[in-house]
Amino acid sequence: MSEFTFFFRGRDRSQSQDQMQKTTQRWVAWFKELGEKGHIKYPGHPLEHTGKVVSGKQKNVHDGPYAEAKDVVGGYMLIEARDITHAVELSKGCPILEAGGSVEVRPVEKFNM
């Protein structure tokens, strides 16, 4: 088993209370399914839309991220899967895809020194 990180983008933040409830229920169902199959390494968290970006040697601080709403990372989780194909297959159950968002699947890099 290898580890992969899912980055979720394009969370819809303009939903009504009712839609929001349905969306969270879908997330819970998806988490339950992944959890029961033992794929969740660390469930991660959703992230607020804005924060700060610190950059460069000068350690400049800006409001960020600059990206467009659909490109902002809205949350993450760490999963376990056989390989990237398997991880991609698992990501397809993510409710964010139904709302026009995306899941970026990235293998965890292991440094061997």
Binding site: W27, V28, G35, P43, G44, H45, M77
Partner: protein, 177 residues
């Protein structure tokens, strides 16, 4: 008896049932603390603002928010309900799962489940009844003692021993649909 006392008696069991569902039976004492805390806040707030329109809902909401606080602060150091497992670890699922447990229908099931759980095979019948009356039906130790025509100290001991057995039982009795 003040109207709030009656209300507290009625709601205590429902709150304990929902909270032990979330925290796990081994954290029964923590669930009781959260209930006490909610009652204290109610007395404080209602003294100034008067009783809210739906005091039961107010108490439940307070207990629920307090439970969220506890889970957020302690989730890395403590294990909570094994049945809910990792769903409480993450903000993706924490609030909706807690919300689900506190839904009125779910609480009814939880109360029933707690009653069955109080009938643990390691407990004598008197202890089972005493636990149900005290923990879930809001009767004081004194009232339970006089119902059994036994002493206050003996009843108190019986109840606290019973709670320890419950807390050691790890899992709640499951109610299936």
């Amino acid at each position: 008896m003040a109207p709030s006392d009656l209300l507290f008696r009625r709601e205590a069991g429902r709150m304990i049932a929902a909270l032990t569902r979330i925290f796990g039976m081994h954290n029964l004492a923590l669930a009781e603390d959260v209930v006490q805390d909610a009652f204290c806040r109610a007395v404080e707030v209602w003294k100034f603002r008067g009783m809210p329109e739906n005091p039961s809902a107010w108490l439940m909401a307070t207990a629920k928010n307090r439970a969220l606080d506890v889970l957020r602060r302690q989730r890395t150091a403590h294990t909570f309900a094994p049945e809910l497992g990792r769903l409480l670890e993450s903000e993706w699922t924490l609030a909706p799962v807690v919300e689900e447990v506190f839904a009125p229908d779910a609480i009814k099931d939880d109360l029933l489940r707690m009653m069955f759980s109080c009938c643990h095979p390691r407990l004598a019948e008197e202890a089972r009844v005493a636990l149900i009356l005290h923990v879930l039906c809001g009767f004081s130790v004194g009232e339970v003692a006089s119902a059994f025509m036994s002493g206050h100290a003996a009843t108190e001991k019986r109840i606290s021993r019973g709670k320890k057995v419950l807390a050691g039982s790890k899992r709640l009795f499951e109610v299936y649909h």
